[in-house]
């Protein structure tokens, strides 16, 4: 009896989504990033395509970085406070995209005005040719205040803006529609909630092809596995033809690493865990690789070392399509 052929041809495919617009496309990016397009579970080249490698964004912010853990902070210490310089650094570090985190708009973190935020967006776009992700705050009112100004400031650049949530999606959806950006739909680790949000967005005119989903993020050992499984479940649905689950997935990992003691606790406190300068980036990279394994395509990190490590690991996994080999 020969070994049975177990490859599965699935009826669905993940949407291909491009972020960024070059000059010809009406923007000013030096390149664009496309994610998605898979027709099988991650990296299974014997049965399907995985046309674009997972993309990495590095997070930058106008807020102070006091709450960043030491191992991430040390890399950005000399650029924090200067978004333009920091953005330039990200390019050097090998990021595919830049993720501008707008935490500084929250009243407790400085309360930058909508205008200042819009200006931040502009300056980052001016300083680097990478495609841009703009990530709002955790507070709806603040988001509704600042994001419309930011989408406007980036009009034509085909950025990715987040996040739209079940209780607060109308404002961002309208702004992204008006200024032609892609949108992050965030639903807490549940494929039903995620699908519901996509329906709501569709009902207000957002194209399902323009959505990237964020099932929220947890670090390895701190909630990751629930989200990992949520992504897997969504991917099964999407590849089986559910158009509400064919959106690529983004996870925002950098922020989460600081919660994990094993990753960031200094050696003096936890000698049994070994060197922290190894642990911290490795933890971030391991979390990223884990998420890719489940199906995530866009990973937001903080630590440039982790970015390098994860990229190297994924090179050994990602099956380059023949044309780009």
């Amino acid at each position: 009896m020969p070994v049975p052929d177990v490859s599965e041809r699935l009826s669905g495919a993940i949407n291909e989504v491009t972020i960024g617009a070059t000059e010809e496309q009406g923007g000013s990016r030096t390149r664009t990033v496309t994610i998605g397009g898979e027709t099988s579970f991650p990296m299974l080249s014997f049965e399907g395509r995985y046309p674009h490698p997972p993309a990495f964004a590095l997070q930058i912010t106008a807020a102070d970085v006091d709450d960043w853990h030491a191992e991430a902070k040390k890399h950005v210490a000399d650029v924090a406070g200067d978004l333009e310089k920091w953005a330039g650094k990200c390019e050097e570090w090998g990021a595919d995209l830049i993720c501008l985190d707008l935490a500084a708009a929250h009243p407790d973190s400085g309360g930058r005005s909508p205008e200042q935020c819009a200006d931040d967006v502009k300056r980052v776009l001016g300083a680097s040719g990478l495609p841009l992700v703009v990530w709002g705050t955790d507070t709806d009112e603040v988001d509704n205040n600042i994001l419309p100004k930011c989408t406007q400031a980036a009009a034509g650049e085909n950025c990715l803006f987040g996040t739209a949530k079940e209780l607060n999606y109308r404002t961002l959806a309208a702004s992204c529609l008006a200024d032609s950006h892609k949108i992050i739909a965030e639903a807490p680790s549940d494929i039903n909630l995620s699908k519901q949000l996509h329906i709501l967005l569709k009902d207000v005119g957002v194209n399902l092809q323009d959505i990237i989903m964020h099932p929220t993020t947890g670090a390895l050992g701190f909630g990751m596995v629930y989200i990992y499984t949520t992504i897997e479940r969504g991917r099964i649905a999407g590849l089986s033809g559910d158009t509400l689950m064919q959106q690529p997935v983004v996870v925002n990992i950098g922020k989460e690493i600081g919660r994990v003691k094993e990753a960031v606790s200094p050696e003096e406190e936890s000698p049994q865990w070994g060197k922290v300068q190894v642990r911290a980036p490795l933890w971030e990279a391991a979390t990223a690789v884990g998420y890719v394994e489940a199906g995530a395509e866009l990973l937001v990190l903080r630590n440039p070392e982790a970015l390098q490590q994860a990229k190297t690991a994924l090179e050994a996994l990602w099956p380059k399509p023949p044309e780009s080999a």
């Binding site: 596995v225 990992y228 070994g274």
Partner: protein, 447 residues
């Protein structure tokens, strides 16, 4: 194929006599389908029925035991490709490689150091892989004996040829090591395995494994572990995926064995990432040539995470959780220890930036309303939890007022009676916490 309760029901006498301890045949059938009961528990089931069900319910992947006694490692018997479909049953072994030429005492000490506890579970390295780097079978045996004495962990014995494994296999047969002849098994290893009754590794691509497994089975070997050999991480992933699919989805028994994955990367960071990746995707034993904790730790945590049973409601510890560095005039929120409930509350509290204490009451991982309905989140339980935590001692006069979820507003009166203090009824959903903190809460405390 999954057998439904109705399929099993048809095989039963359908008399609802309740001799099985379940009120009806259908209920019993459902229990059997859910693997909560065995068909044999019905004294009236016919032989034909038993047979009909027997073949359908045999596990598609063999259970393999390595090691003996308390520390034995059981792997295999997996039933699903994705953990949410049921769960991953047998946590993979994580093995550290030791060469018989190494400083064995130092190695043993390093491995002992990787014996960790996390969240009440032992998550340490639980297998030692001893390799015959010396090329001398006797040396391998000595090294294996030494590791056995020092660590008493299940072992994988690795050598280039069967003859080098023989001494160790025979000497340590009691300890049931897994025998791995590189690129094996040769006929000699099959013979050795059959004679000693020890599990062996079958290495190669799927076709080779297929043939070798059948050969070894004919020789009488039952417990085997597949291994894709020295391949790239991508190759290994494909091997792992395809072999498990063949077993689970096609019931192809020659590939129905657990798989050993070796992290070949040279760079320790890459090696660690590679190992994590095998832990997530179907490796049953993952071998690392690395013993420094900073590299091994993520692998151990990945295993702990992915083998959590997704169908058991996840609980957080029942205690006072301090968020945003609370002080003596901070709110005290009370909720259940169902992790989803807790994390919803936590998320909102963190976003509010208000220093807060969250007291999670042990409701066996049920949500607020369910727990209330089942009498697990009533005034007595909350009172007990508050008293046990001693949280009032940390709060100033006028602030010792627990905030209970709005969904159980009905218990506020009785709870305040029990506590002899005011109880504040909070919002019905976590989403209302921030508004509650801003508008209502300040007006309700202090006096």
């Amino acid at each position: 194929m999954a057998v439904t309760g109705l399929d099993i029901y048809k095989l039963l006498p359908q008399t609802n006599c309740a001799d099985c301890g379940v009120p009806t045949c259908l209920a019993f059938a459902m229990k059997v389908a859910a693997k909560q009961a065995a068909l044999d528990d019905c004294p009236h089931v016919s032989e034909e029925s038993k047979e009909a069900l027997g073949t359908a319910s045999q596990p598609p992947q063999k259970l393999v035991t390595i090691g003996s006694g308390d520390s034995a490692l059981k792997i295999g018997n997996e039933t699903v490709m994705f953990r949410h479909e049921e769960k991953f049953h047998h946590p993979c072994g994580i093995a550290v490689l030791v060469n018989d030429t190494d400083d064995l005492d130092a190695k043993a000490a390093a491995i002992k150091n990787l014996f960790l506890e996390r969240m009440g579970q032992n998550i340490g390295v639980d297998v030692v892989a001893v390799r015959c780097g010396s090329g001398d079978g006797q040396k391998l045996k000595d090294a294996a004996m030494k590791m056995q004495a020092a660590l008493n962990l299940p072992m994988v014995l690795i050598a280039e040829s069967a003859d080098k494994l023989q001494a160790a296999a025979e000497g340590l047969a009691e300890a049931r090591p897994l025998l791995w002849e590189r690129n094996g098994p040769s006929d000699a290893l099959v013979e050795l395995g059959a004679r000693t009754g020890l599990p062996i590794v079958v290495e190669g691509d799927l076709d080779k494994c297929d043939g070798d497994v059948q050969k070894a089975r004919q020789a009488g070997i039952e417990e085997m572990v597949l291994c894709p050999g020295e391949v790239t991480p991508r190759g290994a992933l494909q091997f792992l995926t395809m072999s498990r699919r063949a077993a689970l989805k096609r019931t192809y028994r020659p590939l129905g064995y657990p798989v050993l994955a070796y992290a070949w990367s040279q760079d320790p960071v890459q090696l660690s990432l590679e190992a994590c990746h095998y832990v997530l995707k179907y490796g049953s034993i993952v071998v690392l040539d690395e013993d420094r904790p900073e590299y091994v730790l993520p692998v151990l945590v990945a295993r702990q995470s992915v083998y959590v049973d997704p169908q058991v409601p996840v609980q957080v510890e029942a205690k006072v959780h301090e968020i945003n560095e609370p002080h003596d005039k901070s709110p005290l929120l009370v909720t259940t220890n169902f992790s989803l409930t807790y994390y919803c509350v936590l998320g909102e509290v963190e976003a509010s930036r208000v220093p807060t204490r969250i007291l999670t009451v042990d409701t066996e991982g049920t949500s607020v309303l369910t727990a209330w309905a089942a009498d697990k989140f009533g005034p007595e339980q909350i009172k007990e939890a508050i008293e046990k935590s001693g949280v009032f001692d940390q709060l100033a006069e006028g602030y010792q007022k627990p905030v209970i979820p709005g969904l159980v507003a009905v218990i506020s009166g009785e709870l305040s009676e029990e506590l002899g203090r005011k109880v504040i009824v909070g919002p019905r959903e976590a989403g209302g916490i921030r508004r509650f903190f801003n508008s209502e809460w300040p007006t309700l405390v202090g006096s």
